[in-house]
């Protein structure tokens, strides 16, 4: 599972939707791989618009990265050199970082979901469906 995806997935239990704690899931005991992918500055730049930055920071911290700025980078222009550096770092984090194995824990109900062979599993046991 790509880091980027952590911004779009949540606890599958409906009652957690109303909890402010539930999103993002907490990532624990994760095995990461870095995979080189084509750098598309424009994609990262537009992607940034739709990201929940606080969730990006939280998940990065779970995975041991505390270097992100507290506020979403603004006035990013893919043509400018200093923007390029920021976008390249984000590319490395969002697109090139993959969680191969690990746990995702809901901060509200504490249900644990597993990632195996890069595929996250959000199925619930019958008594929670």
């Amino acid at each position: 599972m790509k880091f980027l995806t952590t911004n779009f997935v949540k606890c599958a239990i409906k009652t957690c939707d109303s909890s402010l704690e539930a999103f993002p899931l907490q990532y624990s005991e994760c095995e990461l791989v870095q995979e080189e992918q084509e750098f598309n500055p424009e994609f990262i730049c537009h992607m940034l618009d739709r990201l929940d930055w606080q969730a990006v920071i939280k998940v990065a911290k779970d995975l041991g990265n505390t270097s992100l700025p507290p506020n979403k980078p603004e006035d990013i222009d893919p043509i400018m050199e200093d923007s390029q550096a920021i976008l390249r770092d984000l590319h490395t984090l969002l697109v090139e970082t993959r969680i191969v194995e690990g746990k995702m824990i809901c901060r509200n109900c504490e249900h644990i979901y597993y990632i195996k062979n890069s595929i996250p599993n959000f199925l619930l046991p019958p008594h929670l469906c």
Partner: protein, 219 residues
């Protein structure tokens, strides 16, 4: 005519691409102009989600040809299908960096109001009941989940339709496939009464079935 993705021989527990899958490909080819207008690249990056992606042929096709700049999540209950999606993407050289395969019931693990394009080829075959989710990966009955949809073949589809309000983003669209026995025109009328704009994009006779695809969006 856009190329049909290659699908390697699949695990027998995964639904093989058939007439319904191909109708979806033709539907997206036909509706590409509308989608690009709605989500103009490169400024808009749509989140495209396919429920019950099976072999992954539809997600692969849409990513490769229709909304190339989107990000994709393919969901399936079936663990064998989750693997097949990634294999099909790879087989067709679709870089998987913006395609995620998740084992999930419908869209239950996806953030509410974020899906821009929802694709669903449901278990639309009328059957006594919707089968239970098997308990082990090597159970032979995984395939039944891709087919059997309750008495009208609509049990799972109605779940998705009733959840659209929560699932879709403000500009979101849902493409859902029906067979004639699902009475799609009744569904269209009922959904319109609930405040949805519903358009029939494509219809085709496939053997003894008549299949159609409806597009839903909030008015």
């Amino acid at each position: 005519m856009l190329p049909t993705p290659t699908v390697r021989s699949l695990d027998e527990k995964v639904y093989d691409p058939a007439e319904d899958s191909f109708l979806l490909l033709d539907c997206f080819e036909q509706d590409q102009g509308y989608l690009l207008e709605k989500f103009p690249p490169p400024h808009t990056i749509p989140l495209v989600v396919e429920i019950g992606a099976g072999s992954g042929i539809v997600t692969t096709f849409v990513k490769q040809n229709i909304l190339k700049d989107g990000i994709y999540i393919a969901t399936d209950l079936n663990p064998h299908a989750c693997k097949a999606v990634l294999e099909t993407a790879e087989e067709n050289r679709v870089d998987d960096e913006k395609l995620e395969s998740c084992q999930m019931d419908l869209t239950n693990g996806i953030k509410n109001k974020h899906v821009d394009v929802l694709i669903f080829n449901p278990p639309y075959v009328p059957a006594d009941e919707v089968p239970a989710v098997p308990e082990t990966d090597d159970d032979e009955s995984w395939l039944d989940l891709a087919l059997c949809g309750g008495p009208q073949g609509m049990d799972v589809t109605w779940k998705v339709l009733h959840g659209l309000e929560t699932t879709l983003s403000k500009n979101g669209l849902a493409y859902i496939l029906f067979c004639a026995r699902n009475n799609p025109m009744d569904v269209k009328r009922d959904m319109e009464q609930l405040g949805w704009k519903v358009d029939k994009i494509i219809e085709r006779k496939a053997g003894w079935e008549v299949l159609s695809i409806l597009r839903f969006q909030k008015t």
